[in-house]
């Protein structure tokens, strides 16, 4: 009995030793690359990873990678991770990422704003893979066939239906500064002033949105007509009315493309640019870019070069990006890689050419909060104080926050 046990143990030990010898010899030829991606992109990443010949790419699903990176042990850390471009500033400040230098002819294949989105302090930190921006989703059964060109047109087109109770609200929109940015830019505001080459300066233009009595009146008009919904609810709570046909328009992004495609079976749906609010000012959304970053741990793992090779000679290529977006349904960032196979996601590109990248400085949390607060304060009917104060305060707070 005892002998048997010992023999068994010896057998197991031998088997394990053999396995230990076999495993490295099978993989030693190729380096290993560990990639963390958002859960929604695992399939797409796996689809392209399996065709990469120069390394064994392991795809790991990871939520909130940028914060997990602060606490992870080197052995479990990724060499590359997928994320949004507006993490860039924070990642650089924390020393979590390594700069990537894409050769100029490769850079030329991407829209310059996608590259600018991943630049911080002069360094390029990520390789863009997909880009997205929000658009005005129109229910043509309610609002007619043509996209409205001005906000006045938009309101005139549906105000009768609002008065007789056919719809509850004109535009359904999430309660945050991101979804309200087209209105901020339409009024002439911006988060930050941009240089001629598109780079952001630190001068905030948030208060420019309400710098005249005329603009204040426009905001007061929005309060009175019930143009937008009131915003005590969460973003999720706002998806209902449009689906039920109780809102004529809906401001959302390509992440809702599947829901919109399903709706389009019952309703006539079209995606539009944002209408002009004040003559001479463009109503434009933010563009968001997602791409791959090289983590600082690639250095610890001695895989920095392997990671760079993967990004420069494989990920950045149009063929790879096309395949990635075919699985994921996204609009690829590489200009030669076409558009999303989902017709509605492709339609969302209508607002992309004018869109400006979300700023990527580490102080963004404060800016989203302050601008969001200014909107909800300005659009509250019962609030006696002027929207002007709200936005001036927001501008002041942003100035304080970034210094």
């Amino acid at each position: 009995m005892r002998l048997q046990g010992k023999m068994l143990a010896a057998g197991v030990a031998c088997a394990m030793a053999a396995a230990a010898l076999l495993v490295p010899s099978a993989t030693a030829a190729k380096p290993r690359l560990v990639i963390w991606v958002d859960a929604t992109k695992v399939d797409a990443m796996e689809a392209i990873a399996k065709d990469y010949k120069a390394a064994n790419v392991e795809v790991v699903s990871m939520e909130d990678a940028r914060n997990v990176l602060q606490t992870v042990q080197a052995a479990d850390a990724p060499d590359i991770f997928e994320g949004a471009h507006d993490w860039t500033g924070e990642l650089v400040s924390n020393g979590s990422v390594k700069a990537i230098s894409l050769p100029a002819p490769v850079v030329a294949q991407f829209p310059s704003k996608d590259i600018a989105a991943f630049k911080y302090d002069g360094k390029l930190l990520g390789v863009p893979m997909l880009h997205e921006s929000i658009a005005l989703v129109m229910n043509q059964d309610i609002a007619g066939k043509k996209c409205p060109t001005t906000l006045e047109n938009l309101v005139d087109g549906v105000s009768a239906k609002l008065d007789n109770g056919k719809i509850n609200t004109i535009i359904q929109v999430g309660p945050d500064a991101y979804h309200f940015f087209p209105m901020l830019s339409g009024l002439g505001g911006a988060f930050f002033k941009q240089k001629a080459n598109g780079e952001y300066t630190t001068k905030t233009l948030v208060d420019k949105a309400v710098d005249s009595a005329k603009k204040v009146n426009i905001l007061r008009g929005w309060q009175a007509t019930g143009l937008f919904q009131h915003y005590a609810g969460s973003y999720d709570a706002t998806t209902g009315p449009f689906a039920k046909g109780k809102a004529a328009y809906y401001i959302t992004g390509p992440w809702n493309s599947n829901a919109i495609r399903d709706l389009s079976a019952k309703k006539d749906i079209k995606l539009c640019k944002f209408p002009t609010i004040v003559a001479g000012e463009k109503s434009i959304p933010f563009s968001g870019v997602r791409g791959l970053y090289i983590s600082k741990f690639a250095v610890n793992h001695d895989r920095l070069q392997a990671a760079k090779d993967f990004l420069i000679s494989y990920i950045a290529s149009s063929a790879t990006q096309k395949k990635y977006c075919k699985v994921n349904g996204c609009n690829p960032s590489n200009k030669n890689a076409g558009v999303s196979p989902n017709p509605f996601t492709a339609q969302f590109l209508v607002t992309y050419p004018d869109a400006v990248p979300m700023p990527n400085i580490p102080e963004m949390a404060a800016i989203w909060g302050n601008v969001g607060d200014a909107w909800s304060a300005s659009l509250r009917e019962e609030d006696p104080s002027s929207p002007k104060t709200a936005f001036e305060n927001a501008a002041q707070n942003i100035k304080d926050a970034i210094n």
Partner: protein, 529 residues
């Protein structure tokens, strides 16, 4: 042995069956194995002190449960250990954090931060590259030069250790990476070999004059670049090589100086983690961004916690008194129904209330036809919060009061009414004081709980609505703990753990002080009765 009489007085001497022993030993073995594995893992990642503590814990556990002595400890140890791990350790850690600048941009140690900043470059022309060996077997770079801004092709070059010279003939380029294809006389290195050379540190840089170098970046690319920062280790300063501005260490883990372009004060984005002394505490009271809202938030926190206790207690006692009347029928049914708000998890019911109170499509406004902004008007939002908290909290007070009321001897009340007291006087002078003796400590506990009732505030209003005339992140209904959360995650530059740890220590001291004071008072109350 001579300890026979002693054995007889032992109260704990169950006869152990073989099965019970087996269970005991296997449980003990499992715990030891788990802890041993944990200690091993800790040791592996360099946490030596925790590993040693865990190892000692294994010894302690085995000793304790194998010996016949130390019986009370057998019951206390699991509780003590978990209290140390989940109670005391976080407090120690919070205190430590409160005296550091632990926040976004300050996670690295100083050494890493310096090397991180030194790796910042200003890039000029961009190159695609193919490493190759020439006819002598020397390593050369075959390069195609591009303008970084316009992407214009600036021609082909050959790089050696000493110089960068224009190639006699334009190279052909790879279709994906645009790396030159080696012409006759050169043998190209594979990407893997090239990477190996870079990893070994054998890839040389080429001096291009004017502080600029050609630097290999990957196996297929390189850049003409200049270091952006020069570090002077004696003075602990960084000099910006573009304009010569000096950035000095500000003593709080950052280097600050004048920005080249704007001339304004700026900091290098990357800083390091360091001890900042009392700075976080001083900031709370001196930096207007934080201090402005502090008194307002503090007052509302006290009002909120006090009103919540008062309202839940008043309603709870009222209902308990009502159901304490024996004449009422179906008392048990009513009592059970009243527990429901207490029985449903708060997370759910608060979110349901949030939906009900929504001014646009909430049930309350829709059904009554009213147009009241329950959650978006600063004052109404405070009322709504108190209302919801009363609804959530009164069943607890009702339960407690019901029990306490039944414990009050009815002779006392009868004696009082014989003495001529009316019902109110009986309640005021007999029932209530006795009730307070029994429930006093619970009220204090309830006060502390509500003082830190993050869930209710955050789930119902998220601290909102925001205030227009305020320079702070605090909304109209933010209490100290939800404000702390905002300070930590949403008020400035990413996450600011140091500052929020400082606020939480202040909260801890406030609650500790209040609890201490009121327990002393309730003790006095007990002595009176």
């Amino acid at each position: 042995m001579s300890d026979k009489p002693e054995k007889e007085v032992k109260f704990y001497n169950p006869k152990k069956s073989a099965g019970a022993l087996l269970i005991k030993y296997s449980l003990l073995g499992m715990v030891s194995a788990l802890l041993g594995f944990a200690a091993f893992l800790m040791f592996n990642v360099g946490l030596v002190v925790p590993a040693v503590i865990t190892a000692l814990l294994i010894l302690a556990v085995n000793f304790l449960y194998l010996t016949e002595k130390l019986i009370p400890m057998k019951y206390l140890l699991p509780g003590l250990v978990t209290m140390l791990i989940f109670g005391v350790l976080p407090i120690i850690y919070s205190v430590y954090i409160a005296f550091t600048n632990y926040s976004t941009g300050h996670y690295l140690n100083k050494e890493d931060a310096i090397s991180e900043i030194q790796e910042t470059y200003t890039d000029f022309d961009s190159f695609t590259m193919q490493m190759a060996t020439d006819s002598n077997g020397e390593l050369v770079y075959l390069l195609e030069r591009y303008d970084s801004e316009t992407f214009e092709d600036l021609g082909s070059f050959i790089g050696t250790k000493d110089s960068l010279t224009e190639a006699p003939k334009q190279f052909k380029l790879d279709s994906v990476t645009y790396a030159p294809i080696p012409p006759a006389g050169y043998t190209g290195l594979s990407k893997k070999d090239a990477s190996g050379i870079i990893d070994k540190g054998d890839a040389y840089s080429i001096d291009l004059g004017g502080g600029r170098q050609y630097v290999v970046d990957s196996s297929v690319s390189g850049f003409e670049r200049a270091s952006k920062w020069f570090y002077d280790s004696k003075k602990d300063t960084f000099t910006n090589t573009e304009c010569g501005n000096v950035y000095k260490n500000n003593g709080y883990g950052s280097w600050t100086g004048k920005d080249c372009e704007t001339g304004k004060n700026a900091a290098i984005p990357t800083g390091y983690l360091t001890n900042v002394g009392m700075k976080n505490f001083l900031d709370i009271f001196q930096n207007p961004r934080y201090s402005e809202a502090m008194p307002r938030v503090f007052v509302w926190t006290v009002v909120y916690a006090f009103s919540s206790v008062f309202l839940t207690f008043a309603v709870g006692v009222g209902v308990a008194l009502l159901f304490n009347t024996p004449v009422m029928r179906f008392r048990k049914v009513y009592r059970s129904l009243l527990i429901i708000p207490y029985a449903i998890p708060g997370f759910l019911s608060i979110l349901i209330w949030r939906g009900l109170l929504n001014s646009e499509w909430g049930t309350i406004n829709t059904v009554t036809g009213l147009d009241i902004s329950w959650l978006t008007d600063p004052n109404l939002a405070k009322m709504s919060i108190l209302m919801v908290n009363t609804w959530l909290g009164f069943p607890y007070m009702f339960l407690v009061a019901t029990g306490a009321l039944q414990a009050i001897p009815s002779e006392l009340k009868e004696a009082a009414s014989v003495d001529g007291a009316n019902r109110f006087q009986v309640f005021r002078n007999v029932t209530l004081p006795l009730l307070m003796v029994a429930t006093g400590p619970l009220l204090v506990g309830s006060f502390s709980f509500n003082f830190n009732n993050f869930n209710q505030i955050y789930l119902l209003t998220e601290g909102g609505p925001s205030l227009q005339n305020s320079n702070s992140a605090a909304g109209a209904t933010d209490i100290l703990i939800s404000y702390t959360y905002k300070l930590a995650f949403a008020s400035g530059r990413g996450n600011n753990y140091g500052l929020s740890a400082a606020v939480s220590i202040i909260i801890f001291m406030i609650i500790g002080g209040i609890s201490f004071w009121s327990f002393k008072r309730s003790k006095a109350l007990e002595n009176m009765s």
